[in-house]
């Protein structure tokens, strides 16, 4: 799954497949990082945060 593992070949199938995979992983990773950082910031009162009524979000 990494280019340094010996099965890795720089061919179309690897690029497409692993490209899709890393793309999804990146989005998930970035999304979660964003949420965590923003939550920390909100908690520390840096952001515009404040209180929400979580009923809004269902």
């Amino acid at each position: 799954m990494f280019p340094f593992i010996f099965e890795w070949v720089w061919d179309m199938s690897h690029i497409v497949f692993m490209g899709g995979l890393w793309y999804a992983l990146t989005i998930i990773g970035l999304g979660m990082t964003y949420c965590l950082i923003k939550a920390i910031a909100d908690t520390a009162g840096i952001g515009s945060g404040g209180h929400h009524h979580h009923d809004d979000h269902h």
Binding site: M1, E7, F17, A24, I27, I28, T43
Partner: protein, 412 residues
């Protein structure tokens, strides 16, 4: 005792009653865990699988729960991407059911493989041409997405929500949930599809093999489609069962009906595609390899043409017709019947695409062999059911799963 953890404004059964419930289901769970340990310690000789049935009950269970868990991605897709806002009242439950289904699938896979400790080779030494690799990657990633979708729900527990960080985290995750849902839908499309590809690419097995486009056999699309159609049916079914058990209405009818209507049209279009696929396969693909349709359904004690009738007509056309008609959706009995049939239909389809693929002899001098699972296989398959029931029980008790519950069941 645990009243502090129970969401405000709703009523729950007594802790004693709940503990008895946990105890009973927990015993079943332990039975499954025992069987699981046997399989891990003594090996797969504990099963009735053999060299003809390398795939059996477990792989069927995997395919079936993932199809049924498809309610999560498809409802999420409808809610966040298409913008069917009413579905916010059932999405939590769809996510929870999805979470249970996918974690179960991963657990069963971990039991099913002969060398569980090497299971990670599927990622590390991935063969990108294998449908199973695609399944493994998308399945695990999507399980991650489901966890992300389930997490805010946990954080909304009355006590946890009081922690500002958790509250904020939960809020922020809700804010960008559409991104996660979209990623989840993307991943789901591929792994549902590649599960269909698992048997569809087997050109050595004329019963499973299908032609297709590019690298994807027709079963790839049929599986995604059927999961999108039947997954929500399963969500509805479980919701109905939960309502029955808790003796409360938890989701408003218009929400259920909307989901049922979409499912119905998905199912209707799916079944047309399925019929076309079966027709093409029976008249072109299989004969080119020397098989008549009935060769697959005769000379054996179990697999007969009744399977086709049951899967396509009774559990396909019939529920589709019920769900696409308004009167059908409005009738409680008809709706229930339709979702049950749809769930049976998709499970049967997965059974056929796993077990019958194994059963059909390919070498002309080979014979049909029948298979019945060992108790260890059954117990390990029941294990996730027990686990799911417990997780639903806990989630329902302590988390605000059903937003409409308070409104529908006001406490005097």
């Amino acid at each position: 005792m645990d009243s502090a953890l129970i969401p405000e404004g709703v009523k729950r059964c007594s802790p004693a009653k709940f503990l008895i419930f946990l105890g009973v289901v927990g015993a079943v769970l332990l039975w499954g865990v025992f069987a699981m340990l046997l399989c891990w310690i003594k090996g797969l000789n504990q099963t009735n699988m053999n060299d003809y049935y390398g795939f059996a009950l477990w792989i069927w269970a995997d395919l079936a729960v993932i199809a049924l868990g498809g309610g999560a991605f498809f409802t999420g897709f409808l809610r966040y991407i298409i913008g069917k806002d009413e579905l916010k009242n059932i999405i939590n439950y769809a996510v929870l059911i999805g979470f249970i289904c996918y974690s179960s699938a991963l657990l069963i896979l971990a039991i099913d493989i002969g060398q569980p400790l090497r299971g990670w080779f599927i990622f590390w030494h991935a063969n990108v041409h294998s449908m199973l690799t695609e399944v493994a990657f998308c399945l695990s990633c999507y399980f991650g997405v489901l966890t992300i979708e389930y997490l805010p729900l946990i954080l909304e527990n009355r006590q946890l929500d009081r922690v500002p960080f958790f509250h904020n985290l939960s809020h922020n995750m809700h804010e960008i949930m559409a991104v996660f849902a979209a990623t989840g839908a993307f991943l789901s499309f591929f792994h549902q599809g590649s599960l269909g590809g698992v048997s569809g690419v087997l050109f050595g097995r004329p019963f499973g093999y299908r032609e297709g486009v590019f690298i994807w056999p027709w079963t790839f699309f049929l599986f995604t489609w059927s999961a999108a159609a039947c997954g929500p049916c399963f969500t509805i079914l479980i919701t109905k069962i939960t309502e029955k058990v808790t003796q409360k209405k938890l989701v408003k009818d218009n929400v259920i009906e909307l989901l049922a209507k979409i499912s119905g049209w998905m199912l209707a279009t799916y079944i047309i595609a399925k019929i076309l696929d079966t027709w093409y396969w029976a008249s072109v693909t299989a004969p080119s390899k020397g098989f008549w349709l009935l060769d697959f359904y005769s000379n054996n004690p179990f697999y007969g043409p009744w399977i086709l009738v049951l899967e396509v007509i009774i559990c396909g056309v019939l529920p589709a017709l019920i769900l696409i008609t308004e009167s059908g959706r409005k009738s409680k009995t008809a709706l229930l019947l339709a979702v049950i049939l749809a769930v049976i239909g998709v499970s049967l389809n997965r059974w056929v695409m796993v077990l019958q693929v194994m059963a059909v002899p390919v070498m002309p001098f080979d014979s049909w062999y029948m298979y019945f699972p060992s108790w260890q296989e059954i117990a390990t398959t029941v294990l996730p059911v027990a686990y799911g029931v417990i997780l639903i029980g806990l989630s329902h008790r302590y988390l605000p799963i059903f937003p409409q519950e308070k409104e529908l069941n006001p406490i005097d």
